[in-house]
């Protein structure tokens, strides 16, 4: 088996386990179906099936994620390291074919997440609404704030990369 294929299958299995770990239901085993489909399409070289299966796996897995709390940084880090980051890497491993793996663009991508998180924690503090935003009772504004932070950071990132090209 090729090295890239091996990494893809391992990451897929890890994702299934991680989904089961981060959910409190055995229904999360269902995620293994699209992940298996991804592995199967890669193995059979059915290019057209790879991307839809990947999207399906991505849509399905977050349905089972529960018990997240933005106040618990440790828990968030565990989640990022065991699910969100492997999912991103899984995308890269599945879509990247025959080309060299490069750390620099991964660094760019991760720095975007890091800056989004920074803005999410710093901005409410600056506006003095930390308690309101980070409270587990205000989940919807919390998510919207996180989403907004991501979008605010996205603009300068895009501009910088456009200037580079």
């Amino acid at each position: 088996m090729k090295k890239e294929k091996f990494i893809t299958h391992i990451l897929g299995s890890l994702l299934v386990l991680s989904t089961i770990y981060h959910s409190h239901s055995l229904y999360s085993v269902l995620v293994s179906v699209p992940v298996f489909l991804v592995s199967y399409s890669i193995h059979q070289k059915k290019e057209t099936l790879v991307f839809p299966s990947l999207v399906l796996a991505t849509i399905l897995s977050p349905f089972f994620i529960s018990s997240g709390d933005m106040n618990e940084i440790f828990s968030l880090l565990i989640f990022s390291a065991t699910f969100a980051l492997p999912l991103s890497l899984y995308w890269i491993a599945v879509l990247l074919k025959g080309t060299e793996f490069r750390w620099k663009p991964i660094g760019i991508a991760l720095s975007y997440v890091l800056f989004t998180a920074l803005l999410f924690y710093l901005l409410p503090d600056f506006l003095d609404i930390s308690e309101f935003i980070l409270s587990p009772e205000n989940r919807v504004p919390q998510i919207l704030m996180f989403f907004g932070s991501g979008m605010i950071i996205a603009v300068p990132y895009n501009v910088i990369l456009e200037i580079k090209s």
Binding site: H22, F51, V55, T58, I59, P62, F63, I65, S66, G68, D69, M70, L76, F79, S80, F83, A84, L85, L87, S88, W91, I92, L95, L96, K97, G98, T99, E100, R102, K104, P105, I106, I108, A109, L110, Y112, V113, T116, A117, R139, V140, Q142, I143, L144, F146, F147, G150, A154, Y157, N158, L161, E162, K164, S165
Partner: protein, 464 residues
């Protein structure tokens, strides 16, 4: 600057995090939004990579001699580590047509080759076109437009079909069938060959009276054989002749085709053949009449270098109204014309009229009694063409005019108004054509389907 866009995959990945955020809000689960942020960051991965993406394309064009309607292969080799999407049918310029309909789209990856067959539509020096395509980043989330101009210039010669047809039509029996008397344009050599006994039918002028007094019987002078006169084609390559027609060809292309056929016909019938190509300003090349296969081959190679098609938008029909009129020379020009000679023909002294310069070539060489075939649409400088016929007739030449009449060629392309203008222009030419006829010039109208042999046929009919 190359354009960077999200690919289909990229658009899906752009929407996916938004969808996840919606799920996150719906289930009140913030970690799903965190997953969305990670996924969204992949777009920056690709955006970073796409800025480093480039492809190097190596072109290979097969063969040396290209001719109209004869396909040749174009190959491209992709150097680089990226995938490249290209639509072949969009590569080619108007002068070329893709031969295989199926090969419209192609996906190239590192080290791969692409080849397609191209059919030239018109003669001249052409660049094939540009490879326009999209190069993808490794995840294929972003794509960047790439344009690669195929640098190598292709020289396209006139159709080989024309030569084949010319050869078929110019078999002596064929030519003689249509040209009632192929040796009508002949000249008797003054070279004295000998004396023989008078035969009934011999010319009385040729009786050698000295021998008669010595031998007491009629003797006739015998000259070297009667030989056909040289045939020279005057080919007009003015912008009006080179205007691109809807099918990508030009009137000049058809005129070259006709020239080659007519020249081959005359070559087979024993005439020396030559050609002078000129535009509205000057002579492009002049080749004296010569005999044999080499002469025809030389001319065939020479016409290859004639200028190619030009865009019709650059020369509206109205522009021809400012045709040359020799009577309208200014005082200064008249003075200049008197000093330099009668062949200076345009109102600006920098530019000589091509057709008169061609006549000048004949005059300078002191060549007389030739068959001169002028191929011109007379749209530019018709007055100069009339003068040229006058001068050629003065030099005792036989003159034919073959006129490719614009509306026949452009009916499919131009609108009604332009067509009417064109007819009006042609009506103006009627007077000039009438004058030419009075000078004893044979006029043949040329239309797109006409073959060279039909001109000989027409001439044969007119003679009878």
């Amino acid at each position: 600057m190359p354009e960077v866009q999200l690919s289909k995959r990229g658009r899906i990945l752009f929407v996916l995090p938004i969808f996840l955020v919606a799920i996150s809000i719906f289930y009140e689960e913030p970690y799903v939004a965190v997953t969305a942020a990670f996924l969204f960051s992949l777009l920056f991965y690709s955006r970073f990579e796409i800025s480093n993406c480039s492809v190097e394309i190596e072109d290979k064009i097969s063969g040396d001699n290209k001719t109209v309607d004869e396909s040749f292969k174009v190959k491209h080799r992709l150097k680089g580590k990226r995938e490249f999407d290209v639509v072949i049918s969009k590569v080619l310029k108007e002068e070329f047509k893709i031969a295989e309909e199926n090969e419209k789209k192609a996906k190239l990856s590192t080290g791969s080759n692409i080849s397609y067959t191209v059919k030239p539509q018109s003669r001249g020096y052409h660049r094939i076109g540009k490879l326009r395509g999209w190069v993808y980043d490794p995840l294929k989330l972003y794509k960047k437009s790439i344009e690669h101009e195929i640098e190598q210039e292709v020289i396209v010669q006139s159709s080989k079909k024309a030569i084949k047809k010319a050869k078929t039509y110019s078999k002596r029996s064929y030519a003689e069938e249509f040209a009632e008397n192929p040796f009508a344009f002949t000249v008797r050599s003054n070279e004295f060959e000998g004396i023989r006994e008078f035969q009934p039918g011999d010319s009385l002028r040729d009786i050698h009276w000295k021998s008669f007094s010595k031998l007491g019987k009629l003797m006739t002078r015998v000259y070297e054989r009667v030989s056909p006169i040289g045939t020279q084609i005057f080919l007009d390559c003015s912008p009006s002749m080179r205007r691109r027609l809807p099918d990508g060809t030009t009137k000049l292309d058809h005129s070259i085709y006709i020239s080659l056929q007519v020249l081959k016909n005359f070559d087979i019938l024993g005439h020396d053949i030559g050609m002078t190509a000129f535009d509205h300003k000057d002579i492009i090349f002049h080749q004296n009449p010569d005999s044999g296969k080499a002469a025809f081959r030389r001319l065939y190679e020479k016409v290859r270098d004639l200028p190619g098609a030009i865009d019709s938008k650059n020369i509206p029909i109205e522009r021809y109204q400012s045709s040359l009129n020799l009577d309208e020379l200014g005082e200064e020009e008249k003075h200049f014309a008197e000093r330099v000679g009668k062949f200076i023909s345009t109102s600006t002294r920098k530019h000589l009229s091509g057709v008169l310069s061609a006549v000048d070539q004949i005059r300078v060489r002191g060549e007389k009694k030739k068959l001169i075939i002028i191929i011109s649409d007379l749209e530019m400088q018709p007055q100069a063409a009339l003068k040229a016929v006058e001068y050629l007739k003065e030099m005792k030449n036989e003159v034919w005019l073959i006129a490719p009449f614009s509306p026949w060629y452009e009916a499919a392309e131009v609108d009604q108004e332009t067509l009417e203008n064109s007819y009006q222009e042609y009506e103006k030419l009627e007077k000039i054509l009438e004058k030419m006829k009075r000078l004893g010039c044979f006029i043949f109208e040329l239309y797109p389907d006409k073959e060279g042999i039909t001109i000989l046929e027409e001439w044969g009919e007119r003679k009878t």
